[in-house]
């Protein structure tokens, strides 16, 4: 790390996230004056342009890559058109103990006077909650599922390589071509297409304008700069910002700045889940690097410095503050930008390059919260990339996470994408598979599968509230067999998924109609060609996902009932249900019997693993292929992010001996402490899940540092990863941390502000996690020797 990067890193690391109301004020003023004058796509585009023209700019000392969403690093705007925070929400943000945001009290007052009165009842969130049916609300409140789209825009995406070959001027030309061939006589949608395309044109102008303002500012600063080195740098920044994003980049520096303007534009236009990701950044940058290295205009150090500048820029962009259930299930500053390294090129050759290694070095040396690097390993990927990755993993940051390129490709080909598009795809967010630059892959919310078993055991009633939240599937005391119980579970599952999909579809149309995303539509292939917005089926591919949580907990619970109630007959259903209702009070012997004497998922034990397969197939049968509003369909992925803690809180005691309100199993990992045969058994169990039929799975493994002390140990870890991938595993990630360190961090958080741990598909600072999440990480089975 050179002094520039050290300075910028410290500045980024130490900045406190704070709320900027500039965007909300500009937007409210704009809507008051203009709502109703234009079609919605054009209204959105014009507002975006207005923002690009008027928002406060920031070029910091020593910066090489420029541009901030707010007026400075870690300034976080609000998006009242989606979720309008109340003044009480803003007070909570500045006062709560964890993931606090600085909020100026005067701004809260202004917000209450100028912003809230306009958006109350008009925000997407208000309109959703005013319109959804009561049985959905009951199930939502009971924690049977979450809804991703209720306060942030549906999942943003990752980009392919197009922006490195085409500038906004080129995109505008493409849009104009489409406008020119609109057929107003035979195509009834032509007027709608025009509005959508026209909005895209405006969005292109907006980002060009945004960059030019930076060029002007840099030039002005250069004139005033006394330091000749800095003067030169500022003039170079001005030159770069004049070229990109209007035109395609020609240098490594321009390519990074190009991406950064586009990234900023999409996260300013709307507040999409998982921010935005560059996709295969190493593949995109390698041609620039190699060309300039050959002609001597760049060296490795300079490339590393520029890449580090991008890393820091991404870290400056804290997730916008969440409210309600979403704040409970996703309380993090991380906004989930993921950078894919390695993988395959669209032509099927190895995608790794020197840039992949430089990027890993940057991630290692900066050890920042964001972005999240991931390495993508195909059978064609050289071992040296995996070796370099394991050396970073050993440091204990929780990243890079490791993905199986061959499975990620097969998942997509199985859904009907072309092989080239699938290879250009990868993973974003935590572990979600998508065709980068060509797909809207929308996450719609988490499904609490163990909770569905809980209501099955209570004939549709939530035992925590006594409210009916499911359907009548019979008194479990009368069930004669495991199959009868399982049949009832399937009926409850089908009912809950129906409830969720019906509302998802409703919300999806709200976004398509009221919240189009013109800039994002420019960037994703298909939207210009079809003249349709990103949210309205414009992209080449459109997929909706439901994220299924708690496979470990539900498998182990079903296994416990099957073993003890039906197979052995040593526990009656009534006794079990009574113990669950009482949270095992006075029934510790029963709880331990369930916990210690049941075949559990994660031990390579077919008695449990076949139940996992049974549940997985039921989930597929219930979700996979269900139609969405775009003429395409729903798929499932197996990911909980941090929702297993929230879902655990909403769940009573479970038949696997888990106590009420404690976390469920995370992702596709075994229940914490249930895997007792080491990592190879975990992997063998996971391999029995037909993972290519999902849009991603997530396996957490916690290793004690002693297991990775030598380079030979790293080779063995690499062997473990390669074997899992040979068996079809989608993803694996590691926490390398001993319990003692984590406990000390709880005692003296100030001494551990740098301690990154793997939470879900992302890393977070351990001391920024609430107590529940800290305990959850400590309770993960530690693979020792």
């Amino acid at each position: 790390m050179n002094t520039r990067i050290e300075y910028l890193r410290e500045q980024s690391f130490n900045a406190t996230p704070f709320i900027s109301i500039e965007r909300a004020l500009l937007e409210t003023r704009f809507y008051r004056e203009n709502a109703g004058k234009y079609s919605l796509p054009v209204l959105r585009a014009r507002f975006f342009k207005k923002l690009c023209e008027e928002k406060t700019l920031y070029i910091g000392d020593k910066e090489l890559i420029v541009g901030e969403r707010g007026p400075g690093p870690k300034a976080v705007p609000t998006f009242p058109e989606l979720t309008c925070h109340s003044t009480a929400d803003l007070e909570t943000l500045r006062q709560r103990p964890m993931t606090r945001y600085r909020v100026n009290p005067a701004d809260i007052k202004t917000y209450g006077e100028s912003v809230i009165p306009y958006w109350k009842g008009r925000s997407i969130r208000d309109r959703i909650f005013n319109n959804v049916p009561q049985d959905w609300k009951n199930a939502y409140k009971a924690g049977l599922f979450t809804e991703f789209m209720e306060q942030r825009a549906p999942g943003h995406t990752a980009l392919d390589g197009r922006i490195y070959g085409l500038g906004m001027a080129d995109f505008k030309a493409k849009i104009q071509e489409q406008i020119n061939v609109l057929d107003y006589i035979n195509d009834p949608k032509a007027p709608d297409r025009f509005e959508t395309l026209h909005a895209m044109e405006i969005a292109c102008d907006a980002v060009i304008m945004f960059a030019r303002r930076h060029a002007d500012l840099a030039k002005k600063m250069a004139n005033k700069a006394s330091d000749t080195m800095r003067k030169q740098e500022l003039l170079e920044i001005a030159r770069v910002c004049k070229r990109v994003p209007e035109h395609a980049p020609q240098t490594f520096h321009e390519a990074i700045q190009m991406y950064w303007f586009v990234h900023l534009g999409t996260i300013t236009e709307l507040n999409g889940w998982d921010a935005m990701s560059p996709g295969h950044l190493d593949q995109h940058l390698a041609p620039f690097y190699e060309k300039e290295l050959a002609d001597g205009s760049i060296d490795r150090e300079r490339a590393k410095e520029l890449l580090a500048c991008l890393w820091i820029k991404i870290n400056n962009h804290t997730a916008p503050p969440k409210v309600g259930v979403t704040a409970r299930e996703s309380g993090t500053y991380n906004d989930f930008t993921q950078i894919n390294l390695g993988g395959l090129k669209p032509d099927g050759t190895d995608g790794s390059s020197e840039v992949s290694f430089i990027a890993l070095e940057v991630a290692d040396e900066l050890s920042l919260l964001q972005p999240q690097p991931s390495v993508h390993i195909s059978v064609k990927t050289p071992d040296r990339l995996l070796d370099a990755a394991t050396r970073v993993i050993r440091k204990g940051y929780g990243y890079p996470s490791v993905f199986n390129t061959d499975t990620v490709i097969m998942e997509q080909v199985g859904m009907g994408k072309t092989i080239e598009d699938a290879r250009e795809g990868g993973t974003s967010g935590c572990i979600e598979t998508g065709a980068f630059g060509k797909e809207a892959y929308i996450l719609t919310g988490y499904l609490n599968v163990p909770k569905i078993l809980e209501i099955t055991l209570n004939n549709g009633v939530d035992p925590l509230t006594g409210k009916m939240v499911g359907i009548d599937t019979g008194d479990p005391g009368t069930f004669k067999s495991y199959d009868e119980l399982y049949g009832a579970f399937q009926h409850q599952l089908a009912h809950i998924v129906d409830l969720k999909i019906a509302v998802n579809n409703y919300i999806e149309r709200m976004y398509a109609r009221y919240c189009p995303a013109p800039l994002l539509s420019v960037l994703i292939e298909g939207c210009i060609e079809k003249g349709r917005d990103y949210y309205d089926g414009g992209p080449k591919y459109n997929t909706n996902y439901i994220q299924c949580c708690g496979i470990g907990t539900v498998t182990d619970s079903l296994s416990a009932i099957k073993t003890h109630v039906f197979d052995h007959g040593s526990v009656t259903m009534d006794a079990l249900l009574k113990a669950l209702l009482n949270n095992f009070k006075g029934a510790e012997a029963l709880r331990l019997k369930l916990w210690n004497r049941t075949p559990f998922f994660g031990n390579d034990d077919n008695r449990a693993d076949t139940i996992m397969q049974q549940v997985y197939h039921s989930l597929l049968k219930t979700i996979d292929g269900r139609p969405n509003t775009k003429g395409t369909c729903y798929r499932l992925n197996m990911l909980s992010t941090t929702c297993h803690v929230y879902f655990g809180k909403m769940l009573g005691a479970t038949p696997n001996g888990r106590k009420a309100h404690t976390p469920q199993s995370d992702g596709t990992s075994p229940s914490h402490g249930a895997d007792r045969n080491g990592p190879t058994a975990v992997i063998n169990s996971l391999a029995k899940m037909d993972q290519v039929r999902s849009g991603g799975t997530l396996l957490n493994q916690r290793f004690l540092p002693s297991v990775l002390s030598t380079d030979k140990d790293l080779k063995k870890m690499a062997g473990l990863i390669r074997t899992y991938f040979g068996l079809g595993g989608h993803h694996i990630q590691f926490n390398v941390m001993d319990t003692k360190t984590l406990r000390s961090a709880q005692q003296t958080p100030d001494a551990y502000r740098n301690l990154l741990v793997r939470v879900a598909g992302y890393s977070d600072y351990f001391v920024d996690l609430d107590k529940d999440h800290q305990e959850e990480i400590i309770s993960r089975t530690a693979q020792a020797l």
Partner: protein, 299 residues
């Protein structure tokens, strides 16, 4: 049929790459620092672990021979009455009753070993038979080695080679790699700390070397026992003399086993052992390297 006390998956320090280690019951040696005391006896005992017990009383109610009773909050087992049926171990919800081993036949053990074949194939690992002392149950060992050989699984045997030469030959014919301890070069000191002289052991090592078997030597490095310059020199010279190409692992003594002795109700050794100091470990490495040996710290 035979007796084992554990099967450990992802054993990464018992030979090359990713392995499964099968721990046999029974050992002819009585090393005072033994780290696997549950492996010493060939007999399967039942033990009760106080801090796991929740005092539910199920074992008292269900013991078929009336051998268990409660005294001052402790479960006492009447060894005369106990018929070693293992029922207490099977029913205890808290896992407070444990067996120090189990009867297992070759098929059951092979089923576990075979579950990780894909990891052995990927990493170049295999199975390691350890203990206790695997040569203490020759039938079980030979049968397992034969089946593993047929299945193409790489086989390592972790042994003290205190056994008849005939048996060592038979085992060697089926084994790819030996992990052999050398505890001390002086026969009297060896006997003092392990209960047997080192004559047979050194003879068998020569035998394996003559058979051209790959051997990895392991020296448990313990201050006050064998880490002195003289013994290390002799050990190194012996290895360099019989199998100069071999790799030597220095296993530095650690005290983690004392809780195991507590759990088993076994008395700790009358000797106190210490971990050698860093500079002594370094000196041992240098001594052995000077003799041209390949030395590694840890397994």
């Amino acid at each position: 049929m035979g007796r084992i006390f554990a099967i450990k998956k992802y054993a990464i320090h018992d030979g090359p790459n990713i392995r499964t280690t099968v721990f046999f019951k029974g050992c002819p040696l009585r090393c005072a620092w033994c780290h696997n005391p549950e492996g010493i006896s060939l007999f399967i005992d039942r033990i009760w672990i106080k801090n796991k017990c929740i005092a539910c009383g199920q074992c008292l109610d269900e013991c078929i021979s009336g051998a268990l009773f409660l005294k001052n909050g402790e479960i006492i087992r009447d060894g005369e009455r106990c018929v070693a049926c293992g029922h207490c171990v099977d029913i205890c919800p808290a896992l407070a009753h444990e067996s120090t081993g189990r009867e297992a036949d070759v098929n059951v053990i092979m089923e576990e070993i075979k579950k990780d074949i894909v990891f052995y194939d990927q990493s170049g690992g295999g199975v390691t038979f350890s203990g206790g002392e695997p040569l203490y149950q020759p039938h079980l060992l030979l049968e397992l080695l034969t089946v593993c050989k047929k299945s193409g699984i790489h086989r390592a045997v972790d042994t003290c080679v205190h056994a008849k030469a005939e048996l060592v030959k038979d085992v060697a014919a089926l084994t790819d790699l030996f992990l052999v301890d050398i505890k001390h070069m002086d026969s009297d000191v060896h006997e003092k700390f392990t209960g047997v002289s080192n004559g047979l052991i050194l003879e068998n090592i020569r035998l394996l070397a003559r058979m051209d078997k790959e051997i990895r030597f392991r020296i448990p490095l313990i201050e006050g026992v064998n880490s002195d310059p003289e013994n290390i020199e002799k050990t190194g010279r012996f290895i360099a003399g019989v199998a100069p190409e071999s790799r030597v692992d220095l296993l530095v003594y650690h005290e983690m086993a004392s809780s195991k002795y507590d759990k088993l109700g076994m008395p700790l050794s009358p000797f106190t052992f210490r971990k050698p100091k860093g500079k002594d470990i370094k000196r041992c490495v240098e001594q052995l390297e000077r003799l041209g040996l390949r030395v590694f710290k840890g397994g």
